[in-house]
Assembly symmetry: C2
Homo-oligomer: 259 residues x 2
């Protein structure tokens, strides 16, 4: 931008992204001042940017005056390959899995050092979980997270083990050595599990989903009540689903477009 910039080097584009970044799962509706605070921008600047974004319907203003993500961004987001390709291909198999086990079924990818949940299939009869599509959870405390971390590039894994492992429950693995050993086991047997490591009362099983070249690009998992079916019994169904998803992904072009 130009003018009396307080932080030279910050482009208008980066400021627009900072405004969008002010919104997250726990803050889906913000006042103008909130946005300014959370994005670190001066109030006047925020005001102008937000007004333009509202005009372009990227943001919307709720009845109470607070701002939310607008229709345009919602539409744009649904065009992401995460949604149109990975989710679209996997969904039928996830639903099939759900009707077979009647427990929460998850599809997640690794994004940086977190598990990013792409889809969640659930119903009244399942244990409520804190995961949701678009949500993020730690890699070391979730089933899909362990499956993703176990097959992550060595440098990513090493970097993750160097960072402190946040404790979520009394059962969370916070010792790097123990996590490394567990991930080795995951690679050996081909599936991961958790016992109340993220949420007390819930345990999970997960397997990796590979692309045509064999690289792990996602994971699918089942989360249920600790006292339910022996987790191990769910593995075959998961492996079958993962295989089918991988096969369908292999013969689905990266981006199916009409052009």
């Amino acid at each position: 931008m130009a003018g009396r910039t307080g932080t030279p080097g910050a482009s208008v584009t980066s400021r627009v992204l900072a405004v969008l970044g002010a919104f997250d799962a726990t803050h889906p509706a913000l006042t103008l001042s909130d946005i300014a605070r959370r994005s670190g921008l001066p109030l006047a600047t925020t005001h102008r940017l937000v007004a333009e974004l509202v005009a372009g319907r990227a943001l919307a203003r709720a009845a109470d005056g607070r701002y939310t993500i607008g229709v345009r961004l919602w539409e744009a987001g649904l065009l992401s390959p995460l949604h149109t390709r990975l989710r679209e291909v996997a969904l039928p198999y996830l639903q099939e899995l759900y009707t077979a086990v009647r427990e929460n079924v998850h599809l997640a990818v690794r994004d940086g050092d977190e598990a990013l949940y792409v889809e969640k299939v659930t119903g009244h009869r399942s244990v409520p979980t804190i995961s949701r599509a678009g949500g993020r959870l730690p890699l070391h405390a979730t089933g899909v997270g362990k499956a993703l971390l176990a097959y992550a590039p060595p440098e990513v894994l090493a970097a993750h083990l160097r960072r402190p492992l946040r404790r979520c429950t009394a059962y969370t693995i916070t010792e790097p050595g123990r996590l490394a050993r567990e991930l080795a086991t995951v690679r050996e047997r081909g599936w991961a599990r958790t016992h109340e490591e993220m949420t007390l009362g819930s345990c999970s099983v997960a397997v990796p989903v590979r692309d045509a070249t064999g690289a792990v690009l996602a994971a699918i998992g089942v989360v249920g009540h600790s006292l339910g079916t022996t987790p191990r019994q769910l593995v075959p169904a998961l492996l079958t689903a993962a295989d089918r998803i991988a096969a369908r992904l292999a013969d689905t072009p990266p981006v199916a477009d009409t052009a």
Copy 2:
């Protein structure tokens, strides 16, 4: 912005939105030149903006060099009240409806002069339809569209009848007078229907969903094969679902946040 602008008056923010607007359902992956053409921006400008958006992960670059919507925008989109409120509240009832009728179930809102599909519940056993979550279809040729248009503000309705009604099939209603009469019928009996007006071989039934004040803010509908159950028989189930969604919406705060 500044410099030798070709189109004075266009702000950087509006250009960023133009870049995002270049993506749509039929163009989910674009080359740099495509984006420049479709957004009407000079190539060099597009190049710079896109690079910044990729750095901020609002866009992503596919293996073939084309650009797609990035993870950040996908995450942001899921925070829209359309998703977190309307869809979240309605989904269980839509699924219930689906298991009862085993035909495509839709949830849509009116956005300008189009029906914007917020959610679609389907399965193998349903007729394939061209609708999809995040997609747009004409108001006058779809079940949910007619339900939305019938209860739209008079000025919106009048404006819509003044515009030419695009013909989609031989059965599409393209005569304003006939559409107006049909919408009057919809208001009288409380539900809308279509007979192969959007797609040959498909017909639909839809009802409005009201908010606490009685204003119509969405519509739900069922689309099935022309030869299936008599559409009329589906009306009671739809009305029940719409009522329940309305009730749940009424006691769900506009934006549930943790703040």
